[in-house]
Symmetry: C2
Subunit: 389 residues, 2 copies
C-alpha cells in the first residue's frame, strides 16, 4: 500500500492537459478505463464506487487511488472525499450505472464549489433535465458520451485505450460554462477520441437510431431462435450471426438505457411497426395486386438506408469489392494470406471470417478497393490460394 | 469455338461420381457455379438460359457448353436440347429465378423420360406442390438447396468453389425414386458441401427463421436510416453495421423468396409483432409497474436465442474470449499481427475488423479459446502490440 502510494506522480510529472485531481465516481468498465488513461499520463485520480470490491480492483489495476483505502490508511472510519483529496477536484467524472447518474451528478455539484462535473452515460436528456430541476449549479455540468463499450463489464475488463479512435460526444447546454465545456473536450482529446458536439436531444435521437433500436431489433430476432430446432441453427450462415450478434448484450444495462431513452426509441419503433404491419398484410396474401411491389419497396428502402452508412475510409460499404478465400483451419494460415496481400501492396478495407458448419476449413472474406480486386484475385490464385467467390 | 469444343473431355476423363451429361437450366450465379464445379471434374455439362448473353458468358467462363452455340455450330435455327445432347441427361439442374423454377422442373420432367430433375431454389414446398399437381413424373424430381450465395449475381460472379463447406439440403418426398435422391446427394458431395436431409416443410420453416426473417428485420432497421442525419450515421459503430449488413441484398430476388415462403415467414413475424407491441407499450410508459421487467425479459430472450447458434467449432459464441488490437491502417499490419498469433500457436476462432470513423488506425477484434486469452494478451503486449480491450 505504501509502495503504491509512493508511486503517485509528483505534480510536475503530469504530462496531460488535464491537471486534476480527477475524482471518478463509479469504477466499473468505463470509469476505470478513464482512470487508466489519465493515470498513464500522470494525472492524479481518485476512485469511489458503491462496491468496495470494485473500488479495490480498480485501484489494483492502476486506475487511481481508492478513497476507502486512503481513509483506512489515515485511520478514519468514514470516507470524506473533501478531507482525503489534496485539493478540490478539477474534474469529477460520474460513471455509475445509468439509472443513478443524475443523482450522482447533482450530489457532486453540491459537494464541490468549483469542480466541473461530467457524466458519461449513454442517454443525455433526462440527466440534464434532472440537473436543471435540482437547483444545483448546472453551469459546471457537461454531459458527455464516450461511445465505446464491450461485451464484458467491471474494472477487470478496463483499458486505458478503450476510447481510442472512438467518438466522444459532448452535450453543451445553455447554462454551461465555457471552461467546463473546454475541460470536457480536453478529457476527450486525452482519451484519444474523436470529439463531436450535439445537443442532448440530437444525441438521444442519434443513439436511439444507431444503437438502441438496432439492439431492440437484434433482440427481437434472436428471441425467435429460442423456438428453433437445433438442426435448423446448424444451417445458419453469416447473415444470421451478424444480425443477432449484439443480442448477446447485458439485459440489466439495456433495461436502464432503453427506459431512459424510451421516447426517441419508441418514436423510431412506430416506424418499424408500420412497415412490419404492411409487410405482414402483404405476406398474408402475397398473390394480391401490388403485393410484390410492397415487398420490393421495403427491401429497396433497406438498401437505401444501409448505403448511407460511411465505410472505413468514408466511402459507402457498397463501394468495396469482396472476395472469399479458403484457408485451412490451423494457426498461422490467415496470417500467411494477409502477409501475401500486404506484400502485394493492397490495403484491406474490411475482413471477416466466415464460419463453416462441420468442416475444418475457414473462409476469409476480404473487401478491397474495386480497382484492386481483379488483380489481387489473380495474384492470390496464382500464388496457390483458393479464391472461392 | 472448335478449339473449345475439342477441349471437352472424353468420357474416360470424367473423375466425378456424376456421370452426366448434366443439363443446367438457368446459368446465373448458382447455375454457372454448379457447372464450373462439375466441369472441373470432367463432367459433360450443357447450359441453357433465357438470356443469350448469360448463356454465352457462362460458356466463356467454362461452366459448360451453350446449347445456342451448339445449335449455331450445327447450322440449326432452333435449339432442341434432345438433338444437341449426346444422350439423355442423367441430371437436369433447374436454376432459373425462383418464380419460374416449378415451371422449369415440370417442363424438364416432361422433356426427358428418365432424367433426374433437381432444382436449387431457396424455398421448397411450393415447388413440390406444383410438381405433384402437374401430373408430371414426380418420382424423378428432388428438391435441393445449396445454401450459398453472395452479394453479386450473374455468371461472371460464379465460382466452382461457391458451395464448398456450405450446407446442401436435400428434400426427399414420398414419391421420389431412391436413385434420384442418391444422385442429388452425389452432386452435393461433388460440390464439396455438407449434406442435410429435411422435408420441404422443415426446410421452409428453417430458412424462414435463419435467413428470411433476419433479412426482413435487417431491412426494417436499415429502412429507418433513410431519415437519419449524416452526422448521426458518422457515429455508427460495428453493432449497427453488422445488424444492417444483409439489408444491402438484391430486392428483386428477395421479393420472389419472401413471396414464395410467405406463410412460414409471416408465422414468425407474428411473434416479432407481438414482442414489438409489448415493448412499444412498455416504452410508452417506462415508469409503470413491471415495465423494466418486461424490457429485461425481451433482452434475456434475445440472449437465450443467440446462445443457441453453434460457433465455428460447435461451441456457442459466448464461449470465446475476445480482445481488440490496434493496428496502423497500412498494408501488411494485420498480417504481421496474425503471423505473431500463429507463431504463438493460437488458433483464431473469429476475427473482425472494426471501423474507426475519422482516424487512420484500425482495430482488429480477435476471438480465441478462453484459456488462451490471458497469455496471448500478455504475449502480444510484450511484443509491442496495443491490446486495447
Amino acid at each position: 500500500m505504501d509502495n503504491y502510494l509512493s508511486m503517485q506522480p509528483r505534480p510536475e510529472e503530469n504530462t496531460s492537459a488535464v491537471e486534476g485531481p480527477v475524482l471518478i465516481i463509479g469504477a466499473g468498465l468505463l470509469g476505470a478505463s478513464v482512470g487508466l488513461a489519465l493515470r498513464a499520463q500522470g494525472v492524479p485520480v481518485y476512485l469511489s464506487d458503491v462496491s468496495p470490491t470494485v473500488e479495490a480492483v480498480a485501484q489494483d489495476i492502476g486506475a487511481g487511488l481508492s478513497l476507502r483505502a486512503l481513509a483506512a490508511a489515515a485511520g478514519s472510519s468514514t470516507v470524506d472525499a473533501a478531507a482525503l483529496l489534496p485539493a478540490e477536484p478539477q474534474l469529477v467524472v460520474a460513471a455509475p450505472p445509468p439509472d443513478v447518474t443524475a443523482e450522482v451528478v447533482i450530489d457532486q455539484l453540491r459537494a464541490w464549489p468549483t469542480a466541473t462535473v461530467i457524466d458519461i452515460a449513454s442517454v443525455k436528456a433526462p440527466i440534464l433535465s434532472q440537473v436543471l430541476a435540482s437547483g444545483a449549479d448546472a453551469s459546471r455540468y457537461v454531459g458527455t458520451h464516450p461511445m465505446a463499450g464491450r461485451e464484458k463489464s467491471g474494472p477487470v475488463a478496463a483499458s486505458g485505450e478503450l476510447f481510442t479512435s472512438r467518438p466522444f460526444v459532448i452535450c453543451e447546454h445553455e447554462l454551461a460554462r465555457k471552461d467546463s465545456v473546454k475541460l470536457a473536450q480536453t478529457l476527450g482529446v486525452e482519451l484519444g477520441s474523436t470529439i463531436t458536439y450535439l445537443t442532448v436531444e440530437e444525441h438521444d435521437r442519434t443513439v436511439a437510431l444507431i444503437s438502441h433500436v438496432p439492439q431492440v431489433m437484434s433482440s427481437l430476432l434472436a428471441s425467435r431462435l429460442q423456438e428453433t430446432p437445433l438442426y435448423a441453427l446448424g444451417l445458419a450462415g453469416q447473415g444470421l450471426r451478424d444480425t443477432v450478434r449484439i443480442a448477446g448484450s447485458d439485459p440489466s444495462l439495456w433495461v436502464q438505457i432503453l427506459a431512459a431513452n424510451a421516447q426517441p426509441v419508441v418514436q423510431t419503433l412506430y416506424g418499424v411497426r408500420e412497415d412490419l404491419e404492411r409487410l405482414i398484410a402483404t405476406l398474408e396474401d402475397p398473390t394480391a395486386a401490388g403485393a410484390r411491389l410492397d415487398i420490393a419497396q421495403l427491401m429497396s428502402e433497406g438498401n437505401a438506408g444501409v448505403a448511407r452508412i460511411p465505410g472505413k475510409h468514408g466511402g459507402a460499404p457498397a463501394a468495396f469489392a469482396h472476395m472469399t478465400v479458403l484457408v485451412d483451419d490451423t494457426p498461422g494460415q490467415i496470417a500467411r494470406l494477409l502477409t501475401e496481400i500486404g506484400e502485394l501492396g493492397v490495403n484491406l478495407e474490411d475482413l471477416r471470417m466466415e464460419h463453416s458448419p462441420g468442416q475444418p476449413v475457414g473462409m476469409v472474406e476480404i473487401a478491397v478497393n474495386p480497382n484492386e480486386h481483379d488483380k489481387l484475385k489473380a495474384d492470390l490464385t496464382s500464388a496457390g490460394w483458393k479464391v472461392v467467390r
